[in-house]
Amino acid sequence: MIKSIIKKTPLYIIFFIIILHAIPHLSSSINRIYDGLKKIDTYPRQEYKAKLYGHMVIDFISSVTTELEITTLPYLIYPTHNGDLYGVAMLLDGYRVNVNKDIIMFLDMDKPIWKDDKSKCQREINNNNLTKICQLPDNYIITGIQFSEAFGNSSHTISFECKNKIISKFIFDKSNLIHSENIPYDNLLKIPNKDKFYKTINKKDCDKTITITISDIKENDFHFSITGLSGEGGTAGNVMDNVPEHIIILWDKKDARNYLAVNKNNLNKILNKYKFINNSYKD
C-alpha cells in the first residue's frame, strides 16, 4: 500500500499543481457567475449598449432606419469617416447593406465652424443691429448659428449675406431655437428653406466671407457663432469632399450635432418615397 502510494507520488504532485492552478480560476468564475446572476434582472443592458456604442450614435440612426426598408442604410458621415463605422449597420435592425446616398446622416458634425471666431470675425453694433462679418474656411457647409445663451421674448430679423446678395432673411424669436440635451450644443438656429425644412449654405453661395446681421439687439453681450461642417476647423475632418449639398430634415434631440438631411437634388423623390420625412416635421 505504502509502496504504491510512493510510486504514485509524482502523480499526486502533478495533481496538486493542477489544483493549485485551477482553484483560483474556478473560484473567480463561480464568483462572477454568482454576481452576474444577482444583477441580471437589474442590469440595464440597453443603457449599457447605448453607452458602449454611443460614439456611433446608434440611437439616432436607429430612429431613422426603422422607417426605411430593412436593407437600406442611410449615408452615414462621421467627422473622420464616411460609411459604415466599425460595422454600425450590423448593430441596427434589419440587414442594412444598401447605402442610400440621398438620405444622409451627419453624426457628431454640426459644430461652431471656428473654435474661437474672434480672430476670424468682425463684430459691430449699429442702431441696435448686430453685424458679424466672418471669414470662412476653404471648404465648409453652414447650417445656422448658435447663441451663447438664450435671449428674452423679443423677436429679431436675421439676414445671411454673401457676395452682396441676401441668401436668407427671416424673423425669429426664442421659440425658433433648437435645444439639445448636450448643453454645449444648445440654442441653435437653423436657416428655413422655402419648404418646411432647413437649408444649408456652402462655398458656392458665399466663397470666402459671410455677413450675418441680427436686428433689435438690446444687449451688448449678445453673442453667436456660425455652425456647420468644416474641414479646417476640425468639425468634419477629412470627409468634406464627400459631403453632398443637402437640406436638413431633423436633428437629434439628445445631441444637435447629429442631423438627418436629404440630398438637395433628389429632395422630392425622397419625400415621395418616404412619407415619414414629411410626417416627422411638426409645424
Partner: protein, 470 residues
C-alpha cells in the same frame, strides 16, 4: 434577503428559459439525429457524432441557402431528415450504448468545464459585441443568414461562413440575440476539446493517472476559453472565428492520426465511417475561414508523411482506393465555397489565392527575418507556459521513444512556423503593421496544436508510467 435571492433565482431561470432554452433543445437534438443518418455505424463517441451533426447540418444549410431555398423550406427539410434519423435511431436502439455513467471522469470534466463555459455565456450577455471585424464579417454573415438574405447582399460574400451558420443556428430560436450564439461558442469549444481528449484510449490508465489526465484536460480548457487575442477580446467568444478555424482541423488531424497511425500501424487504411467523419471535420476548416485552406494543406502534408514513415502498408491498388476516395472527400468539401460562388456568380477576387509570385520573390525581403523572429518571440513569451510544457513533454516522448507521436505533433507545428515566415516575407502590407495585427492570431493555430499535442503526450506518458509501475 431570502426574498431577494428567490427573486433573482426566478428571474435567472426565466431569463435562461426565454433566451437559451429553445436554442439548446434545438442544438442538442437536431444535429444528433440529423447526423445519425450518416453515423449509425460509427464507433465514435456520441459527442463527436453530435459535433459532426453540427458541421454537416451547417454545410447543408449553407448549400440550400446558396441554392435559393427559403428559410422555412430549408428548416422543414432539416426537421424531416432529423425525424428520419430519429426513426433510424429508434430502430437501432438496441445497438446504442445507453450506459451514461454520470459519475464518470468524462462527465466530471464536462461538468467543471461547463462552469467556465457558463461564465463565458454570462460575460457575453453583459458585454455586447464590440470587435469591429467580428461585426463587419462574422456577425454580419450570421445576421444575413438569420434574416435569410440572398448571398449577393452579404457584406463579404467571398468569405466562407460555416462558423456564422453555427452562430445562426444558436440564435434562430433566441429572437436573433447575438450573445446567445457567441456565448455558446465556449460550450462548443468545450465539447470539441473534451470529446477529443476522451476519444483517446484511457483504458490502461489507473484511477490516479485518470484523475491527473482529467485535471490536465480541465486546465487546458480553462486556458483555451480565457485566451485573449488582444484589446481585451477573447479568441473564443469575441465573435471572431479564429478559434473555430484552428480547432476543427486540429481535432480531425490528431484524432485521425491517433486512430490510423498511432493505434493501427499494421492494419491497412480503411475508409470506414469513423475515418470519413474525421476527414469531414478536418476539411471543413476551409468553410470557416480562408486560413482553413492553409491548415488543411499543412495537416494533409503532415498526415501523408506520417503514413509514409510509420505504417506498414504495402502499396497495392486495393490500398490506394480508400486513400483516393479520402482525398476526393477533402477535395469536395474544400470546394463547397467555390461551388457556392459559382452558382451565385460571386467574384472571390484574390481573397483565397496564394500570392505565388510574392512567395517566390520573398527571398528579396530576407532583411525582415530579425523583425519576424522578434515578434515570434514576443508572441511565444505571451503564452510561455504552453511552449515550456510542450518542450518538457516532447522530451518525455523522446525518452519513451514514441517517435511516431513526436513527428505527428512536430511536423504541422514546424510547417506552420514556415508558413508564418512565408506570410510575412511575402506580405505587401507594411511589415510592422501586419506583424502586430496578425502574428498572434496565426500563432494561435500553433498554440492549439501544442495543446492537443500535450494532451496526447500526457496520455502516452501516463500509459508508460502505468505500465512501468505494474
Amino acid at each position: 434577503m431570502d426574498n431577494v435571492i428567490y427573486k433573482n433565482l426566478v428571474f435567472a431561470v426565466d431569463f435562461f428559459w426565454n433566451n437559451y432554452f429553445y436554442s439548446i433543445v434545438f442544438l442538442l437534438i437536431i444535429p444528433f439525429f440529423f447526423s445519425y443518418l450518416f453515423t449509425s455505424k460509427s464507433k465514435l463517441p456520441s459527442d463527436i457524432n453530435w459535433l459532426f451533426g453540427i458541421i454537416i447540418l451547417s454545410i447543408f444549410i449553407i448549400l440550400l441557402h446558396a441554392h435559393g431555398l427559403s428559410k422555412n423550406l430549408t428548416f422543414i427539410i432539416i426537421y424531416i431528415l432529423s425525424i428520419a434519423g430519429f426513426v433510424s435511431f429508434i430502430k437501432n436502439m438496441n445497438k446504442f450504448n445507453f450506459r451514461m455513467n454520470i459519475l464518470s471522469l468524462k462527465s466530471l470534466v464536462y461538468f467543471i468545464s461547463f462552469i467556465f463555459a457558463f461564465d463565458a455565456l454570462l460575460v457575453t450577455y453583459f458585454e455586447p459585441i464590440v470587435a469591429g471585424d467580428s461585426l463587419a464579417y462574422w456577425w454580419s454573415k450570421t445576421k444575413a443568414l438569420y434574416q435569410w438574405q440572398p448571398l449577393n447582399l452579404f457584406l463579404s460574400p467571398q468569405y466562407p461562413h460555416l462558423g456564422s451558420t453555427i452562430w445562426m443556428l444558436a440564435i434562430n430560436y433566441a429572437d436573433g440575440n447575438e450573445f446567445v450564439g457567441r456565448g455558446l461558442f465556449a460550450t462548443l469549444q468545450a465539447i470539441i476539446f473534451i470529446s477529443f481528449c476522451f476519444a483517446l484510449n484511457l483504458k490502461n490508465l489507473d484511477l490516479a493517472s485518470r484523475i491527473v489526465y482529467g485535471g490536465v484536460v480541465v486546465l487546458s480548457y480553462i486556458f483555451l476559453v480565457k485566451l485573449e487575442m488582444g484589446g481585451g477580446l477573447t479568441f473564443t467568444y469575441s465573435g471572431y472565428m479564429d478559434w473555430l478555424v484552428a480547432i476543427i482541423p486540429c481535432f480531425g488531424y490528431f484524432l485521425f492520426g491517433y486512430r490510423n497511425i498511432l493505434q493501427n500501424k499494421s492494419e491497412k487504411y480503411q475508409l470506414h465511417v469513423d475515418n470519413a467523419i474525421l476527414i469531414v471535420f478536418f476539411s471543413s476548416a476551409a468553410l470557416v475561414k480562408a486560413e482553413g485552406y492553409t491548415d488543411i494543406l499543412i495537416y494533409l502534408v503532415s498526415i501523408s508523411l506520417c503514413f509514409v514513415f510509420f505504417t506498414n502498408k504495402k502499396i497495392e491498388i486495393k490500398n490506394i482506393v480508400p486513400v483516393i476516395i479520402s482525398f476526393f472527400i477533402i477535395f469536395i468539401i474544400i470546394n463547397i465555397n467555390n461551388y457556392i460562388y459559382l452558382i451565385n456568380e460571386i467574384s472571390i477576387g484574390n481573397t483565397h489565392g496564394f500570392n505565388v509570385k510574392g512567395i517566390l520573390l520573398s527571398y528579396q525581403n530576407i532583411d525582415r527575418t530579425p523583425l519576424i523572429i522578434e515578434y515570434l518571440i514576443k508572441s511565444t513569451l505571451n503564452n510561455s507556459w504552453v511552449y515550456i510544457t510542450y518542450m518538457i513533454l516532447l522530451f518525455g516522448i523522446i525518452i519513451i521513444k514514441r517517435f511516431d507521436l513526436l513527428v505527428l505533433s512536430l511536423l504541422p507545428i514546424l510547417l506552420y512556423y514556415f508558413f508564418i515566415y512565408l506570410v510575412f516575407m511575402s506580405t505587401t502590407s507594411p511589415i510592422e503593421w501586419h506583424l502586430s495585427t496578425t502574428l498572434f492570431r496565426l500563432n494561435y493555430h500553433i498554440i492549439i496544436m501544442m495543446i492537443f499535442s500535450n494532451i496526447m503526450f500526457i496520455k502516452f506518458l501516463l500509459n508508460k508510467y502505468n505500465l512501468r509501475n505494474k
